[in-house]
């Protein structure tokens, strides 16, 4: 059959099978974390946390989140709630904030190993030792939320359509 249009699908990085995909590089490994609940919150963050996730810690750039649930700070008025499962947050404005369930909007890539700091240094120019209130940072050219869940394990939340690109970038350095 004669092609009448360019197939742009071939232009993009192919998405791996996320249920089994794994990168085993030199002193590090990468996998996609599936099944966590995520909800974007904008507005009065104190009110939102008190109602949706009381006592959940706020996680900033490179800080360590011990276990879900927690709130990853994005900006002055915006945070991402991360929970062990889907969060029962009704969408819409109330009490000065809006919560938007977005379990599948962000892909979560988890990087583990002693090479973690080296990978982060390649991906972003931010000084992780200086700290920053927002976990949002440019990594390999795309905006991600970057924090740790252990001394040598970090998570990147990236918009789902960009996950295949970021995966290819991480594979390319192995």
């Amino acid at each position: 059959m004669r092609k009448t249009m360019r197939d742009r699908g071939l232009f993009w990085s192919p998405a791996p099978d996320w249920t089994t995909a794994r990168i085993d590089g030199d002193a590090y490994s990468v996998r996609r974390v599936l099944g966590l609940g995520q909800a974007l919150v904008s507005g009065d963050l104190d009110a939102a946390l008190a109602e949706l996730m009381p006592a959940a810690p706020e996680i900033s750039l490179w800080s360590v989140a011990a276990a879900e649930p927690f709130a990853v700070r994005i900006g002055r008025d915006r945070t991402l709630l991360v929970s062990p499962g889907p969060l029962a947050a009704a969408p819409g404005w109330r009490n000065g904030y809006v919560a938007t369930p977005c379990d599948d909007a962000y892909a979560i890539l988890e990087i583990s190993g002693v090479a973690l700091r080296e990978i982060v240094a390649e991906g972003t120019s931010v000084d992780i030792n200086a700290g920053s209130r927002s976990a949002a940072v440019l990594f390999a050219g795309v905006t991600v939320l970057l924090y740790r869940i252990g001394p040598e394990t970090a998570r990147l939340h990236v918009e789902a359509p960009l996950a295949a690109y970021l995966w290819a970038w991480l594979e390319g350095r192995s």
Partner: protein
């Protein structure tokens, strides 16, 4: 690489920031009475000073709009201020 300071996040790479406008530009109102010339001046004409300037920038990763004071010749940044009142 140059570091800019976001009032919320602190120092970040310049690539995370986007210029928005010269500070102090006031949108002409009321819209129904604004001439095409006045609207074009507002949209497209800047003072573009040589030396010290005050500009509105966006820190794209966190979404913070803020006022930056810098020098267009030396590129030195002398201050970053939140646009919130009171400054948070």
């Amino acid at each position: 690489m140059q570091l800019f300071s976001c009032p919320f996040c602190g120092e970040r790479d310049e690539t995370e920031f986007t210029f928005c406008a010269e500070a102090g530009k006031t949108r002409p109102e009321p819209a129904a009475e604004v001439s095409a010339d006045a609207w074009a001046r507002y949209l497209h004409f800047d003072h573009n000073p040589k030396g010290a300037t005050r500009e509105v920038w966006l820190h794209a990763t966190c979404g913070e709009f803020f006022l930056m004071e810098r020098d267009t010749v030396s590129h030195a940044v002398s201050g970053s201020h939140s646009l919130r009142r009171p400054e948070a």
